[in-house]
Symmetry: C2
Subunit: 203 residues, 2 copies
DNA sequence: CGGGATCCTGAACGGCTGTTCAGGGTACCG
DNA sequence: CGGTACCCTGAACAGCCGTTCAGGATCCCG
């Protein structure tokens, strides 16, 4: 993927993080390659040196953000014993933390950009679909585990995973846009309410 | 809002429809004012004659699309007698119809654009928040009607309306992006499943 | 018919953009 | 120490964009 097979994965990640941050505070359409370069104090040519085009940059930034997200929850997830606990961790991680005021939104902010660009960039569309499918599969797998263990009602895990993923997306949009009606706390509550209703756990 | 108070609301609407259509098939960032003008066979200057800026154009296009949506369901809604029937109509209308292959997506396509731009355009942000709040209020009002009539379980109508609206948004994203796992039919099923689960109607 | 309001355009400007490319540091290795 | 591979940049190009504005059509009404 990278023009050079070298050890400068560090630099790549730096650029990808800068891409997220820049899109987060300037917006997708207003983000110029020069802005991203400024963010890490480099020349615009550097960005094009590592990535063939602007679209590829956004695609890889999304994948990178997703990796960061999953690495962040992996530790917690491994310590969880019940399926219910694991599901709680995923939902909790999906809600932007009020503690890290803006930094936490950077992860979410790329998604509307991806939704917008996916319609015309097949590579990005494929990456997005893959990420989403894998996210739902992770949810479904935990649910099946919980059903097998007798923790959850016997629902269709695939159906449930799509519903939960969609619900979280929809709620996160409102939180991200600072909708007066839906803040992070309410997002958390409503997501948990849905899980409890659907899986009848913790009853 | 319009620079001239004249009867050319027709022309305005034509421009707003062209804006939706152009963003739908070129993407938000790649949509130039000249593209919108081309779409109705006019000069770029015409667009700026009716709208002060590009951001205002997107804002009003979103509001226009929303009006079209509500006008389209209003007739059906008035004929419905039960709250359950009304809710079904709203959900059904939210699912893109396979019959009108692409035209029906134009309505949805503006939302990711709005989510993306809202973060930096206060006017658009306010319009979006108002539209969403009003959409949820419409749902909540029907639910309260259904509860009062004994059709539905006694849930918190506000909570439910946020959940359903978020679920529909999340599902619609997948359908719009032609996700292989979630098509319009599955969106419909999963939305109805949720309503049935939460409100325990039709049992 | 005449004049004013309304609707629309052509042309131009000033500025900014993605992308390219030739080349210069710099570190490592033989 | 010399060279080679890697990392990065400055400068420039070529083109396109939003916006403005003066003015031409067209319509309506007195």
């Amino acid at each position: 993927m990278s023009p050079r097979p070298s050890l400068t994965a560090t630099r790549r990640n730096e650029i990808l993080a800068a891409t997220s941050a820049t899109i987060a505070d300037r917006g997708l359409c207003e983000t110029r390659i020069a802005d991203i370069a400024d963010h890490i104090g480099a020349s615009p040519a550097l960005i094009l040196y590592y990535f063939p085009s602007k679209a590829a940059l956004v695609t890889e930034a999304l994948v990178y953000q997703d990796q960061m997200f999953h690495e962040a929850v992996k530790g917690e997830l491994d310590n969880a014993t019940t399926a219910a606990a694991k599901l709680d961790i995923l939902i909790e991680a999906s809600c932007p933390k009020p503690t890290r005021a803006n930094g936490d939104l950077d992860g979410w902010v790329l998604w509307p950009a991806a939704w917008e660009m996916s319609r015309h960039d097949p590579t990005l569309a494929a990456a997005r679909a893959r990420l989403d499918e894998s996210w739902r599969a992770q949810i479904a797998s935990i649910v099946e585990e919980g059903i097998a263990a007798g923790e959850f009602t016997d629902v269709d895990a695939s159906d449930f995973s799509i519903q939960l993923a969609a619900l979280l997306d929809g709620l996160a949009i409102e939180v991200m846009l600072r909708d007066p009606t839906v803040d992070a706390a309410r997002m958390r509550k409503l997501a948990f309410d849905f899980v409890e209703l659907a899986l009848n756990n913790r009853v």
